[in-house]
């Protein structure tokens, strides 16, 4: 068939070819990359056989250092070595100030909604720092797998809000990585565990990482992972345990850490080491070199440690309770409790969680690796390597979405724990006679007051025809996709005035900023930029052609008349021709034309798919 000729030698796009896809666990403390090779999901190691890459990036005058080396350099260069950057994703300047004691860095306030950290290499945002980590992992994967990647599944805490998810997606875009899906970390862990055991029933995933806490309750039925509820705290994790120990050290040794970032970093490292040694030992010895050069020593007993961390661990139990209730299940219904995240190695965490759920915990897959492994399994399916797989992940919205109404109140449009994708519409009306514009404020959170929720975006609907107050009918539609990302559209129903926006978070980057960062980060000459864009369009064209080819082969004859088929074929042929040329615009246009020519066909395919799924039942009823 002519369509096959588009593949360049050695670049076959034949459908049966195994696609290279990866799962990335972009963690607060450590990050990992995994893939499925010969049917086996495994994490990939670096040249020193290390699987975990510390999520630490050091900016020096002439280079960017990532991972273990960066972490080792942090005591000597605390201001330019960035740790726990995930906690800053999708966060605004004021929010970061509120948690300032965690972050020794110097922030610069600019016009942008995204705060920048000052380094010797210039100001950087959390999104750019995350992009460096993603790039490094991608390189590791490409070297291990020996080829170009189709895409990646990147995990995020289930409790991440829209701004934090968008920031993660922007980081992937900066890293030049195609995101197949943003997957919730607990869901990824469930995939790794569930497929391993083939166990059906209700599973609880308790995921305490370095900086985030998630609890998800899922029901697994024949390959379908249905998240019943999720709850959590996107600012609670092992970092907080370290901080509690560090605070104790400050009190005990009577230290002043203000303006002494080196000491602060030393304290955090000592605290972390003590926490880790208490996993096995009854007490931990801590040694510090004080600013005056004096050696200071202390013993942290098991009991004291528990006393310090209990309030933090207990903070995770309230979300557990809420998740149980939202899922509508009782403790007896639970099949097992899966522990995920490095912080669940702390024995005290296990004790308290076991006490809460009143049953033994599952800890047998490495809690550091399980999320990346689950992500790689999903990536393998999404890349199309397992066409007959019946795995399906049905996730939920973690926090309610709403709109500001009169008096600073939030009107909920989609409540938390609604299965996604979801679309909901709400009607509003004008407040004054002749009002022609309306300002819309989108929020996320479960509280009633605007001030207690997170602002996602503001936008304006203009051109409402003049009417008396209360006569206009403005329908605002929220559409949340499978990644948990929101798009809002608004429309005046009597005049059909439409205004559509992608929610660019109040704390996010604008498209222009992302473009500028792309240019800067690669230091592209204009030619290189052009080449990159051409390559992107070509990849997209190949994808469209391949997808259509597969579809037409499957049901083109059944669903299309000869004339219709001819129209589509000629649009596809034009795209094939454009694909061979070097005009970005021409390829773009040809893709758009194919899209228009196949709109009706796509709809018929979807309806046919639904009818096929339900057809068995119709037969039963006639019997």
């Amino acid at each position: 068939m002519a369509l096959l000729q588009i593949a360049e030698p050695g670049e076959s796009t034949a459908p049966h070819q195994h696609k290279l896809a990866i799962g990335i666990d972009l963690g607060t403390t450590n990050s990992l990359v995994a893939t499925v090779r010969s049917g086996l999901a495994e994490t990939l190691a670096d040249e020193n056989d290390e699987h975990l890459m510390p999520s630490v990036v050091q900016y020096t005058a002439d280079s960017i250092v990532i991972g273990k080396t960066a972490r080792d350099n942090s005591v000597n260069d605390p201001m330019n070595t960035l740790h726990s950057i995930k906690r800053l994703m999708g966060r605004g300047f004021a929010e970061i100030q509120a948690t300032a004691n965690h972050f020794p860095y110097e922030f610069s306030q600019t016009d942008s909604a995204v705060p920048r950290i000052k380094t010797v290499r210039g100001d950087v945002s959390a999104i750019e720092v995350s992009a460096e980590i993603l790039k490094s992992l991608t390189t590791r994967a490409e070297q291990a797998l020996g080829g170009e990647l189709t895409g990646a599944v990147i995990t995020v805490p289930a409790y991440f809000d829209d701004a934090q998810r968008q920031a993660t997606k922007d980081a992937a875009r900066l890293a030049g990585l195609k995101v197949l899906r943003l997957l919730n970390e607990p869901t990824a862990a469930a995939v790794a565990y569930g497929l391993d055991r083939g166990s059906e029933g209700v599973h609880v995933i308790y995921d305490l990482g370095g900086g985030t806490f998630d609890i998800s309750i899922l029901r697994l039925t024949r390959g379908v992972f249905e998240v019943l509820s999720t709850a959590g705290d996107s600012a609670l994790g092992g970092d907080d345990l370290d901080q509690a120990i560090a605070n104790w050290l400050i009190d005990e040794a009577k230290l002043d850490i203000s303006h002494n970032e080196q000491l602060h970093r030393q304290l955090l490292d000592a605290a972390k080491a003590a926490k880790e040694s208490l996993t096995d030992a009854q007490q931990a010895e801590i040694q510090l070199t004080l600013p005056d050069g004096e050696q200071w020593q202390a013993t942290l007993s098991h009991e004291k440690f528990n006393e310090l961390v209990d309030p933090i661990i207990k903070k995770s139990l309230l979300p557990c309770r809420r998740a149980l209730r939202d899922a509508g299940i009782e403790l007896d219904d639970i099949e097992d409790i899966v522990m995920v995240g490095g912080s669940t190695r702390v024995p005290r965490v296990r004790e308290l969680v076991e006490g809460f759920f009143k049953q033994p915990l599952l800890v047998d897959i490495d809690p550091d690796k399980v999320v990346a492994i689950g992500a790689s399994i999903q990536a393998d399916v999404l890349a199309g390597n397992k066409p007959d797989d019946d795995m399906l992940l049905l996730d939920v919205l973690p926090l309610s979405l709403g709109l500001e109404t009169m008096g600073g109140l939030v009107e909920k449009v989609i409540p938390r724990n609604t299965t996604i994708p979801v679309a909901r519409a709400q009607d509003f009306t004008t407040f004054k006679d002749g009002q022609t514009a309306m300002s819309i404020h989108v929020l996320q959170g479960d509280r009633e007051l605007v001030d207690d929720c997170r602002s996602l975006a503001h936008f304006e609907l203009r051109g409402i025809p003049q009417m008396v107050a209360g006569a206009a009918r403005i329908r605002i539609t929220f559409q949340v996709d499978a990644d948990g990302l929101l798009e809002v559209s608004a429309r005046e129903e009597t005049s059909q005035v439409e205004s559509r926006i992608q929610v660019k978070p109040s704390y996010g980057l604008t498209d222009n900023e992302v473009e500028a960062m792309l240019r800067d980060s690669f230091d592209y000459a204009a030619d290189d930029m052009q080449l990159r864009m051409l390559r992107e369009q070509q990849v997209e064209a190949d994808r469209v052609i391949e997808a259509l080819q597969a579809a037409l082969q499957q049901d083109g004859d059944a669903l299309l008349s000869q004339d219709e088929r001819q129209t589509i074929d000629s649009a596809v042929q034009s795209l094939i021709d454009a694909r061979q040329g070097e005009s970005v615009e021409a390829i773009k246009q040809a893709i758009e034309d194919v899209d228009k020519a196949t709109a009706e066909y796509a709809q018929r395919r979807m309806d046919a798919s639904i009818n096929k799924a339900m057809s068995g039942h119709k037969l039963e009823e006639f019997e």
Partner: protein, 179 residues
């Protein structure tokens, strides 16, 4: 061939239009439909198909939500029968129910500051639950024989349930502050 958008929620799942649906069958068919339309099944498809997949899945999720919950299911059935359920409740609440409401509200306010508030709250929530259950039973009878009179009664019951749901969520919020 009828497309999914014009089918009512019952038809979408090939279920009879009745209040007493088999929830297991609903769940099973919901999953089958998800397999057919979920965006993850279209990860390599054209943008157009992926957009359609998001829309169709949203519709199926909405339909599932509306049929799964008894109150939403009753309201949906009433709307199919032409009852306008989008309006704010007209105050046709019977006085007996209003009295009961006020009592429940007072109880809840007292629980907040009481000793052993958690146990009291548990009892309170169990009570609200049984009130809801009673109404679901009556709804089932009313909705199986729809005429103008039963419609009216069913509508009034859904309004009462709405109040009880609200009370329930307030009780949950109080519980969270107690923990």
């Amino acid at each position: 061939m009828q497309d999914a958008v014009t089918k009512n929620y019952f038809e979408l799942f090939e279920l009879p239009v009745t209040f007493d649906i088999d929830l297991n069958v609903l769940t099973q068919r919901y999953r089958e439909l998800q397999h057919a339309v979920h965006p993850d099944k279209f990860a390599n498809a054209t943008d157009r198909e992926r957009m359609l997949a998001v829309q169709q899945t949203s519709l199926i999720n909405e339909a599932h939500t509306s049929l799964k919950d008894p109150l939403l299911r009753a309201r949906y059935m009433l709307s199919l029968a032409g009852v306008d359920i989008t309006n704010e409740p007209e105050t046709v609440m019977d006085t007996e129910f209003l009295m009961q409401q006020m009592e429940l509200r007072e109880q809840l306010a007292e629980i907040k500051g009481s000793q052993d508030a958690l146990t009291n709250l548990d009892n309170f929530m169990a009570n609200v639950k049984s009130e809801l259950k009673k109404r679901i039973q009556t709804l089932s009878e009313l909705l199986s024989d729809l005429n103008t009179e039963t419609q009216k009664q069913a509508y009034a019951l859904t309004q009462q349930m709405q109040f009880l749901y609200k009370l329930q969520s307030e009780a949950e919020q109080i519980e969270e502050t107690l923990l």
